[in-house]
Symmetry: C2
Subunit: 165 residues, 2 copies
DNA sequence: GCGAGTTAGTTCAGAAATGAAATATTAACG
DNA sequence: CGTTAATATTTCATTTCTGAACTAACTCGC
């Protein structure tokens, strides 16, 4: 009953009481998303610390790992990982420095920068994957399969509207 | 069909194909939350720019606004807004500097710092609220009332599990 | 082919956020 | 009481992120 979200919800409820036109439901959703995101971010950072990797870096690595040839252009990586391009430059610099990925220029279009996993990057992923699997499993263990499917459908619909706006 | 999330989902699907034990559903949810959060964050920052306020500052102001006496202790504000205490110090410093809130020490417990809206803070909120209402309404316009209720229920359940973990 | 307009990435200065240590006050307990 | 532990907030060095300007390469129409 008294989740970590309760105080937030309480405050929004007061605002709604004062301003009946205030979009209470929408505000609650947005706040919930923020709380969840921050929580996941912190937990993931903590878990990955032993591998010297943080959450955004993990996200990039996994996006590369999820391709046939373990490679993506910077702009594709940016979209897939949800990071802005300036941040991709910084994050990939760091991952290169750590030897987990490498840059290469595309011969077809020399503006493009391809980023690909190195052997070491692949090995690192395989190494933290079991722990990460545990975390992800645990994070979702409060929901049934059906609820996860439903949640995913609703979040996508929500995101679609944001894209449209 | 091809939402901004499609590339991300695609990458996770490949990973699942390679590693059937990979918690695909959970990973998708977490990524969706991140995408939505970043999008909302950007949109809100943009909308509030004319008032010289950003998303986290808005969150703090609204949490104060949602109390009977427009005041909260720093730690309460931290929990309600989902910001760490060091960040609360920084953000409230800035809001004080702008004259929107003010600090006062609690006589009962002199460790505590109470933060309260000023007249100007209140006026600023009333001033941006119509625009903010528009944004929130629009963000949720893709979902029906029932879907919003359902989404909220599922997100809370998800958050509860994170708190428990 | 060539100049105007796009697209892909990077740079850089400044803003935002964090962890860990420090400060100050209060609670707890022998 | 006194002193140890706990709580509330701040400080500060560092890390993370962003917008805006920039460079380089490509496209397209003429």
């Amino acid at each position: 009953m008294s989740s970590s979200f309760q105080p937030t919800e309480q405050r929004l409820a007061v605002t709604r009481r004062r301003h009946p036109a205030f979009p209470y439901h929408s505000a609650v959703l947005v706040r919930l998303v923020k709380h969840i995101y921050k929580r996941v971010h912190d937990d993931t950072n903590l878990l990955l610390k032993p591998w010297g990797i943080n959450h955004p870096e993990y996200n990039l690595l996994m996006m590369l790992y999820g391709t046939e040839d373990n490679a993506l252009y910077a702009s594709q990586l940016s979209e897939a990982a949800g990071e802005k391009s300036a941040n991709i430059t910084r994050l990939t610099n760091e991952l290169c420095r750590k030897g987990l990925i490498e840059r290469s220029l595309d011969e077809g279009d020399r503006r493009k920068v391809a980023l690909s996993l190195t052997e070491q990057g692949l090995a690192t992923i395989e190494s933290f994957l079991p722990a990460m699997r545990g975390l992800l499993d645990q994070q979702a263990s409060g929901l049934t399969e059906a609820e996860m499917t439903q949640l995913r459908r609703l979040l996508k619909k929500f995101l679609d509207q944001l894209d449209r706006g």
